[in-house]
Amino acid sequence: MNIFSSLGIAIKALFSHKMRTFLASLGILIGIASVIVMVAIGKGSQMEVMDVIAGMGENLITINAGEMKRRGGRLRLTGNVNTLTVRDANGIMDEISEVERVAPFEEKRMSAKFGNNAAETTIAGSTVDFPFIRDYYLKSGEFFSERDVKTANRVAIIGMTAVKNLFGEEDPLGQVIRVHFIPFKIIGVFEPKGVDTNGLDQDDLVLIPLSTYMRRIVNQTFISRIFVKASSRQNISKASVKIRELLRENHKLVDDRNDDFTLVTQLEIEDMKKETTEMFTKLIVGVAGISLLVGGIGILAVMLISVKERTREIGIRRAVGATRRDIVHQFLYESLIIGFLGGGLGIILGVGLTLGLNQWGHWTLILDLHSIWIASWACVGIGVLFGVFPAIKASKLDPMEALTTE
C-alpha cells in the first residue's frame, strides 16, 4: 500500500469528523500562534530596550556620586555625597586619553513658572558637551555656548514635556521662564527623546549652564554626576578603569576605603538588560513547551477516541488484507495531518496577530523566522509523538476481536 492511499484514507476520515479534527488541532494552533507572537514581542521589546540604551549616548560612562545599590530591582544612589566636583570632570578630560568628551551634571526637581503657569520639572545644569554625550538634539533654537557657561548666563534649553506643561501650544523660543524667581531665556528646544531604561521621561527637562545652576540655583560646589564619552566602544572598559584610579587618587581614598562614586558603563547596562531579555526568552520557551504539550495531549486524546470508535473499521481493514503497518500508517497520518493543520493555522494566526499588533497596537513586534521554523517542526514532532501510541494500539488489535467489538 502506498503513501498516497494511506494519506487519502486519513484525510477522508478526518474530513468526516470536521469538528473533532478542528478541536484536536486547536491546542496546537493556539500553542504555535502564541509562541510566534510572544517571541515577536520579546524580540521587539529587546530591540526597544537596546534602542533606549543606544539613545542614552554612544560609548557612555556615567559617574555617580556616592555608592549605588540595587533597591527594588533598580540602581539607586545612597547617601548624600559631596565629593564629586567639576574639578574631577576636568581632570578626567585632561588626563585620560581614551575619553572624548566630559560633561559634569547636576539636577533637581523644581518648580518652573511661565507667566501664571507653574510646573514641576527637572532643572539640570551641565556644559556644552552634554548634548553630544547624551545624544540630545535640538528641534529649534540653539544650544548655549562656552561663553554662556563661563559667564553663568541665564539661558535655558527646554525639553518637549516641559514645553507642553508650561507653554501648552505656545512657541517657547525667546520666552522667559522663572526658576527660583530667577528669569531664564529659552534659547532652544530639544527633540523628544522618550523614556530611559528606568522608564523616566527624558523630555521633562530644563537645561541651563552648570555655572549658572551652581551659583544661582543651589549655591554648591559639588555635583552629583559626570557623563563621559569614551573615544570608542573598545575603549570604554579601559577608560572606566583609568577614571576610577584617577578619582580614587583625587579623593584620597586609601587602599581599603570604598569608592565614594559609582561607575556605570554602557556595556554593563546592555549586559543587565540582556540578562532580563534572556530570562524572558526562557520564560517564553517554557510557556511554549507547556502549551504545545497540552496541544499534543489533545491530539492524543482525540486519536485514542478515534481508535476506540473505529475498532470495527480496523477489523474490517485487517480482514481484507491491511497489515499492522498499514493501520499504523493510517492513524499516524491522521495525527500528522492534525498537527500540520493546527501548525499551519497557528502560523497564519501568529503571523497575522504579530503583523496586526505591530500595525495597530502600541507595541513593537519583530517577526522571528527562526521561531516559525521551529514551530513548523514542533507540530510535525507533536503529530508523530502523540500519534504513535494510538496508532500502534490500533495496529495491535486482534482482527477477529476487533470485528466482534460492538
Binding site: M1, S5, I9, S16, R312, E313, G315, I316, R317, R318, A319, V320, G321, A322, T323, R324, R325, D326, D398, P399, M400, L403, T404
Partner: protein, 235 residues
C-alpha cells in the same frame, strides 16, 4: 491436493488466569472446489475455527497449511497478504465501512493489494451488477437494506478473485427471501470453481453444501457427505 489442511488445531484463550479451550484437537482437510458447511450450536467454536481458517487469528497449537503454506510460520505482513489474496470474507454483520459508497467498499481489498489490477472500478461495477446492485453503486451502507448490504459484502469478497470464500452465518441477519437469494449466489460461485466454507447453525442452510462438518464443544462431532437426494429433499 488439499487446499486447507488443519492438523490437531487447538485454540485457547486466557482470561484472568482461567484458560478456556475453544478448539480441541481439530483435524480437517478441505479440497479445492469443495462446498463445506460447518454447523454447531453457538459457543461450539465455529467462529473461532473460521477465524483461524481465515488467518484472522493464530492457533495456540497445531498446524495449519493453506494452499501449501504453513500459516503459523507467517509474519503479519505475509498473513495479511494471504487474507488479501486467497480469502474472501462474508460476515453475518456485513462489516462494511460506514459512510463509504458500495463501490468503495467493494474495492477496499484492492487498496491493500500488492499488485492491484488496472481496471478496479470496472471490476467493482461488474461484481455489483452480478449481485444485482448495478443501481446502488454510490449508496452508502446506511442507505441500503440488509439484503443489499450482504450482496455488497459478497461483491467485496470476490473483488480480488480469492480461492476460498469464508461465510460466517451469511443469512443470519437476513429475512428468508434475501437468505434464499444469498444462498443461490453461493451455489453459483461453486460452479465457478471457488471453495466455499459456510459457517452456520441453520440445518437448512447447511444442506446447500456437499459436506457438513458438525462441531460440538470445540471438537468435530461428525463429518458427512450430503447425498444429492437428501439435498433435493431438503429443498
Amino acid at each position: 491436493m488439499n487446499l486447507i489442511e488443519m492438523n490437531s488445531i487447538c485454540k485457547s484463550y486466557r482470561n484472568i488466569g482461567f484458560e478456556t479451550r475453544v478448539l480441541k484437537d481439530v483435524t480437517l482437510h478441505i479440497k479445492e472446489g469443495d462446498y463445506v458447511s460447518i454447523i454447531g450450536p453457538s459457543g461450539a467454536g465455529k467462529s473461532t475455527l473460521m477465524a483461524i481458517m481465515g488467518c484472522l487469528s493464530q492457533p495456540t497449537s497445531g498446524e495449519y497449511i493453506l494452499d501449501g503454506e504453513e500459516v503459523g510460520k507467517l509474519n503479519d505482513r505475509k498473513l495479511s497478504r494471504v487474507r488479501n489474496e486467497k480469502i474472501g470474507f462474508v460476515f453475518q454483520a456485513f462489516h462494511l465501512l460506514p459512510g463509504v459508497t458500495a463501490m468503495e467498499n467493494v474495492t477496499l481489498p484492492l487498496v491493500y493489494a500488492k499488485n492491484p489490477p488496472g481496471n478496479i472500478k470496472e471490476r467493482a461495477r461488474e461484481l455489483l451488477a452480478k449481485v444485482g446492485l448495478e443501481h446502488r453503486l454510490h449508496h452508502t451502507p446506511g442507505q441500503l437494506s440488509g439484503g443489499e448490504q450482504q450482496r455488497v459484502t459478497i461483491a467485496r469478497s470476490l473483488i480480488n478473485d480469492p480461492r476460498i470464500i469464508l461465510a460466517d452465518e451469511p443469512t443470519g441477519n437476513l429475512d428468508s427471501k434475501n437468505g434464499i437469494e444469498t444462498m443461490k449466489t453461493f451455489d453459483n460461485l461453486i460452479k465457478e470453481g471457488k471453495t466455499i466454507i459456510l459457517i452456520t447453525h441453520d440445518q437448512e442452510v447447511a444442506q446447500h453444501a456437499d459436506r457438513i462438518i458438525s462441531i460440538r464443544d470445540g471438537q468435530i462431532a461428525s463429518d458427512s457427505k450430503v447425498s444429492h437426494e437428501e439435498q433435493i429433499r431438503s429443498l
